[in-house]
């Protein structure tokens, strides 16, 4: 699978309250949540983001609460994948469990710039910055988690295999 889109750049420690503020957690409807995705980090994000676009962030992306509303809001907003230098652990597992592709690359996170057009090959983990011509390789995804993505998330995986 290849993802292609323009980059929205964010800094370090983007927390779940910035991704989807708690004041909107009285619903879990993706169509409502997407209208407030990333709002407290960039109020214009929900209106600017286009289908396929990519979030690139610094370290510890998604820190804070366990709310799955965070990856749901990002996915529903049309973002195809997230690249960061590191992810907070609950956000990391939530993304795989619900099928939002995420990639860890310190170099890509430091060098890719706002608005660049990039392409990500999910199977090889190759990240290509079309604007600058540079390429990066994301940290490999463990086999179990590749299975989760291939099956379409944790619940589908359980349906298929009868166990986790």
């Amino acid at each position: 699978m290849i993802f292609k889109g323009n980059v929205f750049l964010f800094g370090d420690d983007i927390d779940t309250d910035a991704i989807i503020p708690a004041r909107y957690l009285n619903t879990s409807d993706p169509d409502e949540l997407k209208m407030h995705a990333m709002e407290d980090a960039d109020p214009e994000f929900p209106s600017k983001v286009q289908k396929g676009d990519v979030i690139v962030a610094g370290k510890n992306f998604g820190c804070g609460s366990s709310r799955e509303h965070a990856p749901i809001a990002i996915k529903a907003s049309g973002v195809s994948c997230v690249i960061a230098s590191s992810f907070a652990r609950i956000f990391f597992r939530n993304s795989f469990n619900m099928g939002l592709p995420i990639f860890e690359s310190d170099e890509a996170s430091k060098e890719i710039r706002e608005g660049d057009e990039i392409e990500v090959d999910a199977s090889s983990g190759e990240i290509r910055d079309i604007t600058t011509g540079k390429s990066y390789v994301a940290r490999p995804i463990p086999p179990f988690m590749q299975d989760l993505i291939a099956d379409g998330g944790l619940i589908e995986h359980i349906r298929k295999t009868g166990k986790i």
């Binding site: 879990s28 510890n60 804070g64 799955e68 652990r89 609950i90 939530n94 463990p142 986790i164």
Partner: protein
Amino acid sequence: MGMTIAEKILQAHTDTPEFKQGDIIRVNVDVALANDITAPIAIHEFNKSALDRIADRSKVVFVLDHFTPNKDIASANQCKMVRDFAHEHDIVNLFDGGEVGVEHALLPEKGLVLPGDFIIGADSHTCTYGAMGAFATGVGSTDLAAAIITGQAWIKVPSTMKFTFVGELQPWVGGKDLILYLIGDIGVDGGLYHVLEIDGPAVSSLDLSNRLTMSNMAIEAGAKAGIIRADDKTDAYVRLRAKRPYTLYESDPDAQYVSFKEYDCANIEPQVAFPHLPENTRGISEVGEVRIDQVVIGSCTNGRIEDLRIAAEIMKGNRVARGMRCIVLPATPEIFIAAENEGLIKVFLESGAIVGPPTCGPCLGGHMGILARGEKALATTNRNFVGRMGDTQSEVYLCGPAIAAASALTGRISSPQEVM
């Protein structure tokens, strides 16, 4: 090779005979917890799976504590969905209405989480129970749905970082100050993917309440769990409440750690975390003049009776500063009753504080104490991210109950020594 407490608990809960750090293993879950924000998504996933199978209903716990008593129609609908599901599937551990307490204060009190358990919760502060010698970690709603269906969770075997607190605790210093100090030292991603094992004579000298405060904030360093060995104090607390057997584990002397740190409590004064990250800590003597509009005393971090006693001791016979809102939220009904019986509620009300029901309320900017643009709050809660308690232009400072109570009286961040 020796094992840590975390490794021993994982070993007792998995069928994988041998594992090493970084392996992904399946683990049997003793308790699967969710609240009124995370349970609806878990139930949605459960229904979507069409498996209609609950591995063990006695292990499922739902606490409707975040936006309750229901703050609006949407949150009322979310609670109703959880309540209906619990009734339909015979989930006895549903805490609703007057039985609601803030989940991580409630579960230890009810004897639902025990030493040696492997616990997951669709709430990041599930790590609180590490203070009881359990492996407890926050997950998402999909993980929780999977645990409800299969009784299991997947986990990447973590390595453990060790933190030892030695030396004499300084006046008005408690578990909150020690953990803020630790987070200030290693940063909000300093424990990412790791287990923090916290020990030392200073931690042993703390009561369980203060230890729960410490483990509660392990996630604020990015950690998977924050484990404190269960000792006689833990056992004395648990023995009265447990309805099933439990195990007290100790790390082996030759257990492997990725790092060691020692902190001397002689150097740790009461701490305050400045906006907008829990790592922005300063000792109280370095805070300077910070005027505040609101003080919140409560939450799963510092809403227990021991915290309320400290606050009342400082506030007794004094008045909350003019223009200040001081909101006190006992974390559970049992704590509320104890506070009433000990006369603490009267102290708070007579000092001009507001006393509210057990709820998360303002801690995550839900209700009952939302901040306006430009306002500053000082709270005994655990997060001070942008917009956490209201407007994105408001600010939250974090501290323990003593600093919070003293500051409610002066209207600016203050040491108890100023008012006593």
